[in-house]
């Protein structure tokens, strides 16, 4: 769970104005069918979607003033719609037993509730990059979001973004997804090369990470109702990998790790630095385990959102000298495995196929759920192999933090 360090605002009636900016024409993540940007459900299979555009509102007074009308699609209405829809021919497999999921959203064999698209989704933009975003067990909805993009050549260029919605703010599930997608699109489109020197290129990418955080912040604000006195907010963690260059940045307590394989010489490292009370206490000399389990440990000092005092990410860059995994995750994972070396051992134990990042991402999410699944879980992974640089030539450089 992520909570802002500033005092939480009082609850108020939910009001959302969905309007995430998603570049490409959207498709159903479950069955692949083309869907409208404002659709709440896939026409083909009935999967719940996260609308990426404002749906046209019905004129409340019979006039044609639909577009000006305020949008008030609350979660509960959408949840009811899921139960009401009976006609969709649903045939996706149950995550629990492999049986068929019925039109009512429950397995026809074991009755397990199939997670909605927002509650559990996977992304595999390229064979060497994957992300899994999961509601976990204890939380009622998934306020985490991942958004990843990659060129198809292994090791060429990829963007990993994780945003963790602040659970005490309203509609942070909508906002976090919009933020993650906006940041991903911003980072993937910008391919700065700097002045040609390695340091200059890393610096240019770092500035594009800052721009991506700004774009994500704008998306959060755009998804906050004008009259909301409990503005949506979320964290931000992003990493860009180009060959063996990694540039990263974060706001809040979502993290970027570099996890070399166990047989590699390099040590595993937590690249990002949390903006959290726990991190501040660690910096003041409190042991990590004590700090991360102490009072207010999860309170964050920085976040994205309308009430954010500062959303400029702390950025850094690193050159990889080993084969391993670049990992961006939310606290739903690192709560159970905070130390980089512990994470490295866990990944070694999971013995994942090094050519299948989706399997490892799923295994990590499953593992976190087995530990209790107390929070939403996001895992985004890119595979790095020494000497495999993909199509884009990469120079060497050595900046640890900018």
């Amino acid at each position: 769970m992520t909570i802002p360090a500033s005092g939480p605002a009082a609850p108020q009636p939910p009001t959302t104005a969905p309007g995430a900016s998603d570049g490409a024409g959207p498709s159903c993540p479950n069955c692949g069918a083309e869907v409208g940007p404002g659709d709440s459900f896939c026409e083909a299979c009935g999967t719940e979607l996260s609308p990426t555009a404002t749906p046209p509102a019905a004129p409340s007074d019979g006039s044609a003033g639909g577009l000006e009308s305020p949008i008030t699609v609350s979660r509960s209405l959408r949840a009811m719609a899921v139960e009401a829809q009976q006609t969709a021919p649903v045939g996706r497999p149950c995550l629990n037993c492999g049986g068929l999921v019925g039109a009512d959203g429950y397995c026809e064999t074991c009755g397990t509730k199939a997670p909605s698209e927002r509650d559990h989704y996977t992304e595999t933009p390229a064979q060497w990059v994957a992300a899994v975003c999961d509601r976990g067990i204890r939380h009622h909805r998934n306020e985490d979001a991942t958004a990843v993009a990659a060129h198809s050549d292994p090791g060429s260029r990829a963007v990993l973004v994780v945003c963790d919605g602040v659970s005490t703010s309203l509609d942070s599930d909508v906002a976090s997804l919009a933020a993650a997608r906006a940041a991903r699109d911003s980072l993937f489109l910008a391919q700065p090369a700097g002045l040609g020197t390695p340091t200059s290129r890393a610096g240019a990418i770092a500035r594009s990470v800052e721009a991506a955080a700004a774009a994500a912040n704008a998306a959060v604000v755009a998804n906050t109702a004008a009259d909301s006195d409990n503005a949506a907010s979320c964290t931000f963690a992003a990493a860009v990998i180009e060959g063996d260059l990694v540039v990263f940045g974060n706001v809040g307590d979502s993290r970027v790790y570099w996890v070399p394989d166990l047989d590699q010489p390099e040590a595993a490292a937590e690249l990002s630095l949390d903006d959290s009370v726990a991190q501040a206490r660690i910096a003041a000399g409190v042991p990590r385990e004590e700090a991360e389990n102490g009072p207010q440990a999860h309170a964050i000092m920085k976040w994205l959102g309308r009430d954010s005092p500062d959303f400029v990410p702390r950025t850094g860059a690193v050159t990889l000298a080993s084969s391993g995994w670049l990992l961006v995750c939310s606290d739903g994972l690192w709560n159970y495995v905070s130390e980089a070396t512990a994470l490295q051992r866990l990944i070694g134990q999971l013995d994942a196929d090094r050519s299948a990042p989706l399997h490892l991402a799923q295994a990590l999410v499953q593992w976190a759920n087995q530990q209790g699944g107390k929070d939403n879980i996001s895992v985004a992974l890119a595979r790095h192999e020494v000497g495999v640089h993909g199509a884009r030539p990469v120079d060497h450089h050595d900046t640890r933090r900018s």
Binding site: E83, Y106, C107, T109, G111, K113, G136, R138, G373
Partner: protein, 426 residues
């Protein structure tokens, strides 16, 4: 077109390790239309009248008026027949020896049927099994009928047939037609006639005075004609490894359907509900699941109403495991209400059965418990009927004394009405 809807009342939250899910599912039907006229096929009605010697002149004359009143209520175009029953069954109308045993109602067949009824004579004994078997044969001769209903009138015990013989006859006709049963006077056995009515998805009640018969029969037939949905099946799906502990109709009357399950598929059972008019019926479903981890959610049952092959309404019974005591200890008022009403019906029936065999101690305890439950669940009708059989000393503790002199009709009315439930006051 008939429209159906389903509503589910339950507390879906289970504590850690909890396995049992209880839910009340209300199935409602509107726009049912009239029997045989809503496109669902043709309807048939058979009127079965006791013409045994015990009926005597007064009751038989009243029965003739009642049968004629019922015939009056049968809509034109409905197939019908009239059966006169004693120790054997006679087809009183139509005069058919072979082939179709029923005719279509029109002004001339209505007149002819009433003339046949007027010729009834009280003679012979009582063997209700033979009446039922003849009615089934008549319906069997009309294979195009999709809705088959009978009303049966009796006045005495089933003297000329063994209980086993009656059971065989009931088993033979079950599923072939529905039957509402009425006993006139106080010389018939409630338990015996209830067996027929329950197996044939009908009601049972007492008509204390002969002159009340005509009105009762006219109303029964009106109700039957108002059931435009010929037949519906209740289906209960439960997940693999789960156990359906019970399926009960709990409103308007308590009927245990658990043992009437027919397998639709390994996970789904079908339970007969007969024809539907514009009405609501409540079902209590109990399912035992394997416990899951805190925070997990799963479906415990899909409760559906099926007409033909179409699912016309579905309610979802859910289970969510939680460590929040304020959620898991909440008692759903509907479930509690009907659990009490089901126990009330049992307490009344067991109490009266004990009283009948002279076990006053058990009778006092059971009827006392009934008084307590009737008050707790707000069933004032049951309280009123109980007052005629016991003197109530303390409602809250269920302390009662058996009345020394009880009108037999009041005792039978308490028995026949024991399964009637009240809806929760909301």
């Amino acid at each position: 077109m008939a429209e159906f809807s389903a509503e589910v009342y339950q507390n879906e939250f289970l504590p850690d390790g909890g396995t049992d899910v209880n839910a009340i599912v209300t199935m409602s039907c509107t726009g049912a239309g009239e029997a045989g006229r809503s496109g669902g096929g043709e309807a048939g009605e058979i009127i079965i009248v006791d013409t045994s010697g015990s009926m005597g002149r007064t009751k038989l004359e009243a029965a003739k008026i009642a049968a004629a009143a019922a015939v009056d209520q049968i809509l034109d175009g409905t197939w019908f027949a009239v059966v006169a029953g004693s120790h054997q069954a006679y087809l009183a109308f139509p005069a058919a020896r072979a082939g179709a045993g029923m005719v279509k109602m029109d002004p001339s067949t209505r007149f002819a049927a009433q003339q046949a009824i007027a010729r009834f004579q009280a003679d012979g004994g009582t063997a209700m099994g033979t009446w039922l078997v003849l009615a089934a044969r008549l319906f069997d001769s009309m294979p195009m009928l999709t809705q088959r209903h009978a009303i049966l009138l009796t006045d005495g015990e089933n003297h000329n047939e063994t209980p086993e013989g009656l059971d065989r006859a009931i088993a033979h006709v079950t599923g072939k037609f529905q039957c509402d049963c009425r006993g006139v006077g106080v010389d018939w056995q409630v338990a015996e006639v209830r067996r027929i009515a329950q197996a044939l998805l009908g009601t049972v009640d007492i008509i204390p005075q002969p002159e009340q018969m005509a009105q009762v029969f006219a109303e029964l037939m009106q109700q039957a004609m108002g059931r435009g949905v010929a037949d519906a099946q209740l289906r209960v799906w439960s997940p693999q490894g789960a156990q359906v502990m019970f399926v009960r109709q709990v409103s308007p009357t308590v009927e245990d359907l658990t043992n009437r399950r027919s397998e639709v598929n390994p996970l789904t059972g079908g339970y007969p509900t007969g024809s539907w008019g514009d009405e609501s019926r409540d079902y209590h479903v109990g399912v035992r699941l394997g416990a899951k981890a805190i925070g997990q959610e799963q479906l415990a049952a899909r409760v559906q109403l099926v007409v033909g092959d179409a699912v016309v309404a579905q309610g979802l019974v859910k289970a969510k495991w939680s460590n929040d005591d304020t959620l898991t200890t909440r008692i759903n008022p509907e479930v509690a209400h009907y659990t009490g009403q089901t126990e009330l019906a049992e307490a009344i029936q067991e109490g009266l059965a004990a009283k009948a065999v002279g076990d006053d101690a058990t009778a006092t305890t059971k009827l006392g418990r009934a008084v307590q439950l009737a008050a707790a669940t707000g069933n004032e009708e049951a309280t009123t009927r109980l007052r005629k059989v016991v003197d109530i000393q303390d409602v809250e503790n269920g302390t009662v004394r058996l009345k020394r002199a009880v009108d037999r009709a009041d005792e039978m009315a308490l028995d026949t009405a024991s399964t009637k439930t009240t809806r929760i006051k909301g």
